[in-house]
């Protein structure tokens, strides 16, 4: 089945990257957001498409809760996270009447929604479209791959945590990519260690090194290791994204920035993600 309407939308987008993980709660959405913020900071135009229909987290993380999508003649206009319109976002969260509403949908309806997101959103010119997915290897994943396949998406970034239970699910996701012919762009090991704010000792809450070992074993580029950073968690949590979070010293003078893209640059993790995006961009043949 051909979907020319999707091809038309994708024609103005340079790279389409999916963010996948078999396991839930490993940080797919937070990694997607951080990739997007890092890329936007380097002057790229980025779109984030959230296809986690039952649990959309991106609007909260980007501080876009309660915002609305507008319908224009060219299609649905995504919501922008900054005034410079570098970072656009589309999620089912923008379409729900209130935050308690559940989306109790079976497969076919979810597929239709994903198709609409791909065919009807007016992204304009983008350097990157990052697609955040729900956990698992089921309807949403099959749908998005099926719709994108004929337009050759660049591939998938896999996110994992280091413990064995997560790695088992992630291996399944990697096999899924191989089966459907989706190139693997790299693997990020998230939540690898937590630095105690009191004694600065690093504890491997979910063990460590598992992701790198898996990447080597499965022959995937290893993009980097991101520890748990309470300031980042706070940034994604708080409603006002222009205030730089300072968990260890909440009484310190507040630094206020112009947008979430700038605020993120004050987080320690932004340095790690700058390296991760540089590796990712090099893999995609993009140079600064």
């Amino acid at each position: 089945m051909s979907h020319p309407e999707i091809g038309q939308r994708l024609a103005s987008i340079k790279h389409v990257v999916l963010v996948l993980s078999g396991k839930g709660g490993v940080g797919k959405s937070s990694c997607t957001v951080q990739l997007a913020l890092s890329l936007a900071n380097q002057g790229r135009k980025v779109g984030v498409l959230d296809i986690d229909l039952c649990g959309p987290s991106i609007p909260r993380m980007l501080g876009l809760e309660g915002r609305q999508i507008h319908q224009a003649t060219a299609g649905w206009v995504p919501v922008f996270a900054d005034s410079g319109k570098q970072l656009a976002c589309m999620s089912i969260g923008f379409l729900l009447p209130n935050k308690n509403t559940s989306v109790v949908w079976r497969g076919p309806k979810k597929n239709a929604m994903i198709k609409q997101f791909l065919a009807d959103v007016y992204w304009g010119d983008l350097d990157y479209l990052l697609i955040d997915t729900p956990p698992g290897t089921s309807d949403e994943h099959l749908a998005v791959v099926e719709y994108l396949q004929e337009w050759n998406p660049d591939g998938a970034v896999i996110v994992t945590t280091p413990q064995a239970v997560a790695l088992a699910d992630v291996k399944k996701e990697i096999n899924f990519c191989t089966k459907v012919g989706l190139p693997l762009l790299g693997l990020i090991e998230n939540m690898s260690g937590f630095v105690c704010p009191h004694c600065a000792e690093c504890t491997n809450v979910f063990s460590t090194g598992g992701g790198e070992g898996l990447a080597k074993h499965m022959d995937i580029p290893f993009l980097g290791r991101a520890p748990i950073d309470p300031n980042l968690v706070m940034l994604l949590e708080q409603e006002d994204k222009t205030v730089v979070p300072n968990v260890n010293n909440p009484d310190a003078e507040k630094i206020v920035t112009g947008s979430i893209v700038e605020t993120y640059q004050h987080c320690e993790l932004s340095k790690i993600f700058a390296t991760i995006t540089a590796t990712l961009e090099a893999g995609l043949g993009e140079t600064k």
Partner: protein, 308 residues
């Protein structure tokens, strides 16, 4: 449960009625095609499932809208704890990411088939487990299934498994509010669900998804037993200071429970030893009985026992 989809026409005859998709009121409904092509009438397997499970006293769903909050970990530890004094069966309906075989330490077991149906894998004399993990050719194999196939295997777990008489049957679910959740609720409609235990972590991003799950339970008329807050606070093994890895910026599970009028069953702190116990398939209450996480868990188990 009422299966009428939210976007159905006003005079929807019900997707399970004989006139589904064909009645006058179905004209123009977005679900008309789905209704008219699927088999009508109640599911003929429902009586079989009810018969299979009539020796099972309490059926508990372990739910969470969010992934990775510890549904499987909690299910396994709850099962280990309950099986000290009760007969417990665990059904892993996370078809795409079955973690229970590993967490319960029965990873390489096989399911045997007898004239009475599939025999579940016994973790101990009083604890049995059924999971798709036992049926995969190797542990890395992906289960790339759309909804209907997932529903099929869940039905088989209920209809075709030779469960012993059980005091508790625990269902470990995948994240979300979709096929697996709808199926298990529909299949257990006649035999009854005692309640759902909802897991969450303290931060708002997780609570958002949990609110959706609670909304689902209310729509599906599944009674909610309470909420368990997992990973609440982390005690540094170096200096014993507690810090919030996932900060409760909006008041955590307590505020959610107050807002929605649901009991909070307890809080389990984040403990690296829990993760390790899971990786090695051990009961956490046995391997570290004095840790704060084990004490919190024991409290919660007591509350659940008293609630059913």
């Amino acid at each position: 449960m009422s299966n009428i989809p939210a976007d159905a026409n006003e005079h929807c005859p019900g997707p399970e009625s004989a006139g589904a998709g064909k009645a006058a009121g179905c004209e123009g409904c977005p679900n008309q095609q789905i209704c008219s092509t699927q088999a009508s009438g109640p599911d003929p397997d429902l009586p079989l499932i009810t018969q299979r499970l009539d020796q099972t006293h309490h059926k508990l769903l372990i739910l969470s809208g969010k992934g990775g909050v510890g549904k499987s970990t909690f299910t396994a530890q709850l099962a280990f704890a309950l099986s000290q004094t009760h007969e417990v069966g665990v059904v892993d309906i996370d078809v795409c990411g079955p973690s229970l075989p590993k967490i319960m330490g029965v990873e390489r077991e096989d399911v045997h088939r007898s004239s009475n149906g599939w025999t579940p894998v016994f973790v101990s004399d009083s604890l049995s487990l059924m999971s798709i993990g036992f049926m995969l050719p190797d542990e890395d194999a992906a289960v790339i299934w759309r909804g209907p196939k997932k529903n099929g295997i869940i039905k088989q777990f209920l209809r075709d498994v030779d469960w012993p008489p059980l005091d508790f049957m625990l269902f470990d679910t995948p994240p979300g509010t979709s096929d697996e959740h709808l199926s298990v609720v529909q299949l257990l409609r006649d035999s009854g669900i005692s309640g759902a235990v909802i897991l969450t972590t303290p931060q708002e991003v997780a609570l958002q998804d949990v609110r959706k799950e609670i909304d689902f339970c209310r729509k599906a008329r599944v009674p909610i037993m309470g909420v368990v807050e997992n990973m609440s606070g982390f005690v540094c093994p170096g200096c014993r200071h507690e810090s919030a890895i996932f900060p409760p910026t909006t008041g955590g599970a307590q505020a959610l429970c107050d807002e929605l009028g649901i009991p909070l069953l307890g809080r389990i702190p984040l403990d690296p030893l829990v993760g390790r116990a899971c990786d090695f398939g051990e009961s956490f209450a046995d391997s570290a009985p004095t840790s704060p996480a084990a004490v919190a868990l024991a409290e919660i188990v007591k509350r659940i026992e008293s609630l059913v």
